[in-house]
Symmetry: C2
Subunit: 253 residues, 2 copies
C-alpha cells in the first residue's frame, strides 16, 4: 500500500487521461469506478493494473480488500475527485486491462448494435442481454464505446458475464448466416413481421438500430427477417433499450 | 409578440423558479422544453400560459408557430439559457398548466409506480405504457415528479396520450380490487409466479417498485398475484424500465 495525496501526482495525471477514448485505445486500459464493478471485474479475473482507494472506501470494504487485493494506492478525496467523472465519487477506482484477442466464435444468441449512440442505452442492453441468457453482444460501427464511464456503469458488471466484441456488422452478419445462424433486424414500420409471430429459438442474432434513425438501410437488406413491435397507443416509438428487452425475452428459447 | 432580451426581466426570473418542484406546486404550472413536447401539449389542448421562442426557433418552426400560436415572447439566447436546465437549450420553452381535478375512474390496464425514483425511468415507463396500450399510470409515493424536466423529456410527450395521476397506492390498490381489477405486483424472488405463466388480459394493474429495493413489503401483501421475470444469465436484476416493458407487452391483451 502506497499513499498519494495530490491530484498533481504524475501517475494520477496519466490515469485521468483514461477518461478520454483516445488514451484508452492507446494503452488498452480503462477506468473502472465503484466497488460493485471492480468486484465483478475481480470475479471475472480481469487484470487490474492499479487500484485507488479512499480512506472511507478502505473502511467500508476492508474485508474484501484484505481477501482480494495484494496492492493498492490509498488516496485523498482530492485525488479521487480528479479521477472520477461522477458528481459524488465512490471510494474506489481501478485501471483495468482490455481483453486481448477476441475469438471468432458466435455460438448461441447474439445482440448486434448498429449505431446505438447513447452509452446508457448500450450499457443497459448489455445488462439485459446477460439477464435474457444471450451469449454475447457486438458493438457495431457508430455505437457508444464500451469503456465509456456511463456505458460501464449501466452494464452493472454484465460486460464480464458475456462476450462483448466490436466489429463491422456488414462483415459479421454474413459470417453468422454462413454458419447457419438466423439474423433478425428491427424495423420501425409494419412492412416487417410482428415479433409475436416468431417462434422462440436458441441460435440467432438480433440487430437493434440507432435511437432516432433505426437500423442502416444496407444492413436491413442483409437480414433473414426484419421484426417490429406493434405500438398500440399514440407513442411514436419505444426506447431502443426497452424494445431490445421485449424482443430478447420473447425470442430466446 | 413581445421581446425580452435580459434574463433579469421579472417574468423570466419568476419563470425560472419553475425549475423547482415547490414553485411548480404553488402555481400548478410547469416548464415544457423543446418543440416536440410543446407540439404534443398543443395537440392535447394543454393550456400554455407563456411561450418563449428564440430567433432561431422562430425561423425553424415558423409555419407551426403561425398556425398554432396567437401570442409568444421572442427572447434572446441568454434568456433561453436562463430558463433551461439543458446544456444545449432548444429554441422553445413554454409554461404549461397542470390538469385540474382528476377523475377516480380506472378502466383498462394501469401501471402503478411504487417509489420509482429516477426521473428518466419514470418518463420512459410512461412512454412504454402508452406504446403498450395502457390506459394510465399512477405515480405512487416516493416516485419522481412528473413535471421534472428529465421526466417530461423521457416521456417524449406520452403524458398527453394517457392518464397520469398521483396518489397513495395503499388506498388505490384496494379501490381497484373492489372494482374487480386484478392487481399484479413484481417481486425479485422466485416465490412469485413466472410472468410467462400468466394469460393475457385487458383489465388489470401492474405495480413496479423502487430501482434498488423493489416494491414496499406492505404493498406486496395487498396484491392478487406477484410476478417475476426469470433471469437466465448472471445479471443480478433488470433495469426497472426494461422489466416494466417486458411485463406490459406480455400481459396486455
Amino acid at each position: 500500500m502506497k499513499e498519494i495525496q495530490s491530484s498533481k501526482n504524475e501517475l494520477i495525471k496519466a490515469t485521468k487521461k483514461l477518461q478520454q477514448k483516445k488514451y484508452r485505445q492507446q494503452t488498452q486500459t480503462y477506468l473502472l469506478e465503484g466497488f460493485h464493478l471492480i468486484q465483478e471485474a475481480v470475479k471475472a479475473k480481469v487484470v487490474l493494473r492499479e487500484i485507488f482507494i479512499s480512506q472511507r472506501g478502505l473502511k467500508e470494504w476492508s474485508d474484501w480488500i484484505e481477501e482480494y487485493l495484494t496492492d493498492y494506492y490509498l488516496v485523498s478525496d482530492e485525488v479521487l475527485k480528479a479521477l472520477t467523472t461522477q458528481p459524488t465519487p465512490q471510494g474506489m477506482i481501478a485501471v483495468a486491462e482490455m481483453p486481448k484477442e477476441q475469438s471468432e466464435a458466435f455460438a448461441g444468441a447474439w445482440l448486434l448494435l448498429d449505431h446505438v449512440q447513447d452509452p446508457g442505452n448500450v450499457g443497459t442492453m448489455i445488462r439485459t442481454a446477460d439477464a435474457a441468457g444471450f451469449a454475447g453482444v457486438v458493438l457495431g460501427q457508430g455505437s457508444a464505446d464500451l469503456y465509456n464511464e456511463k456505458t460501464l456503469r449501466s452494464t452493472q458488471g454484465s460486460l464480464y458475464h458475456l462476450s462483448v466484441k466490436s466489429g463491422d456488422l456488414l462483415e459479421i452478419v454474413p459470417m453468422m448466416q454462413q454458419a447457419g445462424k438466423k439474423v433478425f433486424g428491427t424495423a420501425l414500420d409494419k412492412a416487417a413481421k410482428e415479433y409475436l409471430a416468431v417462434e422462440r429459438l436458441s441460435d440467432f442474432a438480433l440487430i437493434m438500430g440507432n435511437e432516432g434513425q433505426g437500423m442502416t438501410s444496407e444492413l436491413l437488406t442483409l437480414t433473414d427477417q426484419n421484426l417490429y413491435i406493434p405500438i398500440k397507443g399514440q407513442a411514436e416509438s419505444l426506447n431502443v433499450g426497452i424494445a431490445a428487452g421485449i424482443l430478447m425475452f420473447h425470442l430466446l428459447e
